[in-house]
Symmetry: C2
Subunit: 274 residues, 2 copies
Amino acid sequence: MLRIAVCQLPLSIDSPDANLLLAESAIRKAGGDGAGLVVLPELTNSGYAFRSIVEVEERATTLDGAVINKWAELARELDIVIVGGLAIAEGGNFYNTSVIIDETGLRGWYKKVHFWNDEPDFFTPGSDEPLVIDTKFGRLATMVCYDLEFTEWARLAFLADAAILALPTNWPDGGISTHPTPMEAVRVQAAASQNKMVVAAADRTLDERGIRWSSASIIADFDGVIHAISDRSRLDEMQILIADVEIPTDRKVGPRNDLRADRRPELYGNVLKK
Amino acid sequence: MLRIAVCQLPLSIDSPDANLLLAESAIRKAGGDGAGLVVLPELTNSGYAFRSIVEVEERATTLDGAVINKWAELARELDIVIVGGLAIAEGGNFYNTSVIIDETGLRGWYKKVHFWNDEPDFFTPGSDEPLVIDTKFGRLATMVCYDLEFTEWARLAFLADAAILALPTNWPDGGISTHPTPMEAVRVQAAASQNKMVVAAADRTLDERGIRWSSASIIADFDGVIHAISDRSRLDEMQILIADVEIPTDRKVGPRNDLRADRRPELYGNVLKK
């Protein structure tokens, strides 16, 4: 059983320092509540709706910068694993990343592959598969936001034996009816259920420069069942979702069925088609 | 706009003749209500929980048999397209199929590829991709039940330019909390939304030889929004879900985003891994 905390934060592109203080307070609260894994939104340090590359440059951090050092210190102090989204400058490029940090420091960083809207104007896309690493509570994968729309992507994490997927997101509200689960959370449930993988998604709340966020944070177990979901009656404040979930140890879904063994990849070749 | 009817039927393995009469009455009702596409459950002619291959043999029909002829007659009379699940005997084998029938007769038949539970004891698996054909209202795909768990499979229909997926199913109730949408329907919503494709799934209701059916029939539009879903307060009767849904003409999901163009298949090679 793993206690997961998902931090749905009201970040602001105009207050990068305040974002980091908010993230720290959320991490401390989650650690104090006994979480082993703490998930933060996409681009926690920077906000999202950039008007220029200069705004990205001003807000991006580095692999050996203050943000990652601070989160590593918190991971040690609180004995937690932190997964969060960061704008990172590296080798002259900017990346929309998700970092995995534990008590030993930065365990890996993932560069978002599938870009939404104006992201190509500000970031260089990644070309590595979802990051999957071993942690003390099981194999942990990460990717970022729109990546999850591409079912192949969660599948690659599944095929790399991930048991948990931590997803930093900034889901813009597309105005699609929620009745009652937001569609972003529905896709998380399906990804969890079809890959027999715990999925924890940390979204933002409030809005930014005309973008309203979906505030669709969710923790789904490996059957897709919702264990915690954003409370839509209080979207104006930070919410920390907490849930205790079982970590899957196999892909069995019935006496004679296994989601991995039942695949027929010899028939899937056309998935590589443009 | 297309009016779709999904027929959730209380079929019985012990009364094959009654199953066909029930299907006919549902098709007539749906046609009378103005549906252009009528979807029926998996194995409508036979029931599901076979005890022996003899039971399959006794119930299976053939490609030129009475059931398909009758449905072709109804398709002509009512000016509809019928998609339904049938146990079919062909070339010495039995197949768990979905057939597409219009006013010209049998347009194609699909053999289920991913098998649940005891199906390998009774049926030969298919090895063709989801069937996708042109109809007067758009490109129509079909597959059967457990096939949808494998995200690659709906993706192949998407890559074959399907705009609508008709899914005959016999979903056994795995006892997973519905809160409030059954997980089977959640997966349909996600498949619709991630592939920008209308999905109409026809499930069974009641139970059979100890298997309780999920009764999770659903019609989801191409955003994944539920337009009709099984009424869980009256699961003891036949339900015909009706919805008018827009047929997608592209894969655009934002001013700069398109679910097909945004894919990065050059990175998906490991999806073919066992």
